[in-house]
């Protein structure tokens, strides 16, 4: 959970770059690099949740992940809404869109700013490259074919 004094990205830039270039959902590791939950903005039972940097199981990362949106059947494997569940549902097929990081309440805003400023252009070109490329079939054409059949 972002605190007043958040992690300085310069100090973790090398490891962050390593994390962001892997094909595994990066949110959990970014959370662990963040400043964590503060007693200032939590309930008294925070400690019992299992550590200040624990995943809150808010499910934001699960909901925003484009891989799970495209292939909803993956979600049938578990009801869990944690970042660990995300990593097991999207093992090595991550689109590296970093949306999970941006929606995670436990990741520091500094990390989010850093990603938006330094990685988003790359992300957009990578994602738009997926659409309409010659190797990627347009499923809608097949739906149109089935619906217009007489």
């Amino acid at each position: 959970m972002p605190q007043q004094n958040q992690v300085d990205v310069k100090e973790i830039e090398a490891i962050l770059s390593e994390i962001l270039s892997s094909r595994v959902p990066p949110v959990a590791r970014c959370r662990l690099l963040s400043s964590g939950l503060s007693s200032g903005h939590t309930l008294d039972v925070t400690e019992e949740l299992g550590g200040v940097k624990a995943c809150l199981a808010c499910g934001n990362c699960i909901d925003i992940c484009p891989v799970l949106v495209r292939e909803p059947h993956r979600r049938q494997k578990t009801q869990q809404r944690t970042s660990m569940a995300l990593e097991s549902l999207v093992p090595e097929d991550c689109d590296r869109c970093y949306a999970c990081i941006l929606v995670c309440p436990q990741v520091d805003t500094t990390i989010k700013y850093y990603i938006v400023n330094n990685y988003m252009i790359e992300v957009m070109s990578r994602l738009e490259g997926r659409i309409g490329s010659e190797g990627e079939p347009d499923l809608d054409l097949f739906l149109e074919e089935a619906l217009s059949q007489v």
């Binding site: 909803p72 070109s125 659409i131 499923l139 074919e145 217009s148 059949q149």
Partner: protein, 390 residues
């Protein structure tokens, strides 16, 4: 820049226009007056259809869209668009030998047993892609094809919108490897209706009459063993079938929208010229004039866009962006034209026996698929982001 349609295509257009005017339009009244069900699907009586096919074959226009390498006419996309625009001006369900391009990728034997009989209207193909209750979520398809010693064991339920026609077969999309996802794990099979384990359930449809309720047919596969030679294309590559021809089909559907909108425009103009309110023809009303002018401008803009996309496709250029734009614009254009036509007519066109009601119904159905529209916007945006300034 030359906007002239080549002379031979112009002749073809005139031929199709005359055919629609003389042979198809007179059938509309008869077809619409047959049944009381407003949601029925129109179907020509077999004898009438056979006569019409004979005529078209005589004109040498049967199988317009079939590529030359498969023994067809191999007409250009622009030529097909011109013909389809004319055919869409009527609600009579008739085409000049339209076959799904999914079958074009079959091997020689498959073409012999499936493609050519479909073209000759001797067999009926059901595209078994959609599943009950799944909508357009193809990734969640439940039909599975398990590899066994003698071939593939199919299990699942599909729905088809095509009518039943005795000697049917299904083009079935099934997961052979669910882990590879929808783009790499789905395989296509050709399954004859006589195959054990394949049942076609007629959901209360009438096949004897001239009309059909819109309810789809269920295709049930229960441990249906399909031999490996009935696989269409390669394993796991079902969604790569017909890739050479499918994008052009989107442009052709755009041309159909233009045909329907042109008919709406003609009918609305005719109505406005003859109908009087408060003692003067409604053409003198500014709102009616504006509605007519806007339909006309919309139709013209869409036609130019369709012709440009078709011209580009015929040059062998990549047209994914153009086809997306065509679909987006023409679908919305037809819905707008139907809406304006309704206003010119002074209210909803509820009279079941009018062709206009059917045209408006179809227009609304086309525009209802907002998800599909969203996809077209995504394709267009994708090109814009790449910085392709065309």
């Amino acid at each position: 820049m030359d906007f002239t349609i080549p002379e031979e295509l112009k002749m073809l257009q005139t031929l199709a226009r005359d055919f629609v005017k003389e042979k198809l339009l007179p059938l509309e009244r008869e077809l619409l007056g047959q049944d009381g069900d407003p949601h029925r699907k129109l179907q020509l009586p077999r004898e009438t259809e056979e006569n019409l096919i004979k005529m078209v074959k005589g004109m040498g226009l049967w199988g317009l869209g079939l590529p030359e390498e498969l023994g067809g006419v191999g007409l250009s996309t622009l030529g097909i668009c011109l013909v389809e625009e004319e055919l869409a001006k009527t609600i009579v369900p008739f085409n000049f030998g339209d076959v799904t391009p999914l079958l074009f990728d079959g091997n020689e034997k498959q073409r012999e047993y499936y493609l050519f009989p479909v073209l000759g209207k001797r067999r009926q193909a059901h595209i078994a892609l959609l599943e009950p209750g799944k909508g357009t979520d193809l990734a969640n398809m439940q039909t599975r094809a398990e590899k066994v010693a003698d071939g593939y064991l199919l299990n699942g339920i599909k729905i088809s919108l095509s009518p039943i026609n005795g000697d049917d077969f299904a083009i079935v999309f099934a997961f052979t490897n669910p882990d590879a996802g929808v783009r790499g794990g789905v395989t296509c099979f050709l399954v004859d209706r006589s195959t054990p384990g394949f049942t076609v359930v007629n959901n209360g449809r009438k096949d004897e009459g001239q009309t059909l309720p819109a309810k789809p047919v269920s295709l049930i596969f229960n441990d249906c063993l399909v031999p490996p030679e009935n696989m269409l294309g390669e394993e796991g590559k079902a969604f790569h079938l017909g890739s050479k021809w499918l994008p052009q089909r989107r442009i052709i559907r755009g041309a159909r929208c233009i045909g329907a909108a042109t008919r709406l425009l003609e009918a609305s103009t005719e109505y406005a010229k003859t109908w009087e309110r408060f003692g003067r023809p409604i053409t003198s009303w500014l709102s009616v004039q504006a509605a007519l002018a806007e339909i006309a401008a919309d139709v013209q803009a869409s036609r130019l866009m369709v012709h440009y996309a078709a011209w580009k496709a015929d040059r062998g250029e990549l047209v994914s962006r153009e086809t997306a734009m065509v679909k987006l614009l023409t679908t919305q254009m037809l819905a707008r034209a139907a809406d304006r036509a309704v206003h010119i007519h002074g209210g909803p066109i509820y009279a079941d026996e009018l062709p206009l009601e059917r045209l408006c119904q179809n227009a609304v159905v086309n525009s209802a698929l907002e998800r599909a529209m969203e996809l077209q916007r995504t394709i267009i945006i994708s090109d814009l982001l790449k910085g392709i300034g065309r």
